[in-house]
């Protein structure tokens, strides 16, 4: 899995997100117009696509999309 593929999947899940706006260094909360609902959508996407569970702590401890992506990648069995 590459971060480009990850971004593609996130873009598909957030139809209001302009393609190309979300980048590895993006502060994902800002770009995704963060709310508790968007947090759940992101957790659901990762669970469905990668069978990986990201927690509230993971979200708290990450700022850029790349940081979150690295956690997901590390946990893929």
């Amino acid at each position: 899995m590459t971060i480009e593929e990850f971004i593609e999947k996130v873009e598909a899940e957030f139809p209001d997100l302009e393609p190309g706006k979300l980048l590895p260094d993006s502060l994902y909360r800002e770009v995704l117009n963060w709310s508790s609902i968007n947090a759940l959508i992101l957790i659901a996407l990762v669970a469905t696509e990668y069978d990986v569970i990201i927690t509230a702590d993971d979200l708290r401890s990450t700022v850029t999309l790349k940081e979150l992506f690295d956690i997901v990648k590390e946990r893929i069995s």
Binding site: S36, A39, L40, I41, I43
Partner: protein
Amino acid sequence: MAVVSLENIRLSGLSACVPLKEYDNNNYELLTDLEKKAVITTTGVEKRRVAGRDITTSDMCEMAAKKLFEEMPCDPSEIDLLIFVSQSRDYPLPCTAIILQDKLGIPKQTLAFDVPLGCSGYVYGLYIMGSLLSKGELKKGLLLVGDISSNSASYFDQSSFPLFGDAGTATILEYKPGVPPMWFNLQSDGSGWEAISIPEGGIRNYHNRDSFKYVTIDQGIRRNRFHLVLDGIEIFNFALREVTPNIKILLKHISKTIDTYDYCFFHQANKLINETLRKMLRLPAEKVPYTIHKFGNTSSASIPLTMVSEIREELTSKPLSLLMSGFGVGLSWGSVSLNTDKIVCPALLEYPNLDSTMPQE
């Protein structure tokens, strides 16, 4: 707990009742149109039935039970065991099940008690009642399962108010040697209890002068200490972490694959959780009936209510192989694999409640 079996138990009747009054989340004034759309799309809850203040969970269960007695070859006098699974009892004391024994005309020889579980309650209730019946000394049991949750959520808590609907259900289990066994995998994790709770009004935190005082917790979340606390992300993570392994362990133990079931019923938590679980288990949509869009999250009633509402014809006309999974408050969760064979299942009942005012500050 390991996976356990339940022998000689037949599920022979099922009915469900919802309040007539409907609340449409499109009318929830605290949200903008855009927010309403996002909430309805993500949670799946567009409409839900609300009890208001003039009916109780036990009233709906009573109506469902009376309908079953009308349509089944089963008289109240035959009931040896009555269990009321609910978190919305009539009074702090006594158990509601005991009051229902009298109201339903069930004999004094009956065992009657409450089980205060929520979203996992139907699966647990089947196991508890089935276990007491499986020796054959007690022959028939009436399992009443449901909740009024809409009154627990603060109108000013946007994270919980739109979610909940109310319902009561009745199930008859019978001792019947030779029927296929039911299989259960039941679990608990008290470390997560704070994710879904009502902080005051029990013995740990008695009700007090400040219990009714509203406090702003976060943007869009304002409630008092009798209101439901819901930590959406924690619950979501719990469901994704625990539900699929629980089901997979059950299936492995009984050497079945998930595609062999006619239907799989999940507690109707919210659409995002349920759809994620469905996809994680690679289940086709047509095998996983939903009622979240029209009844909301109805706590322990959601599985039996969805069965009555969505597959009644099939339940009454042919044998079915079913998988059910309930999960939530506790944290408590469990799954069951069982077969039904032409059960009695009356059409969904509506309780003609008059009042549906929402609690206001």
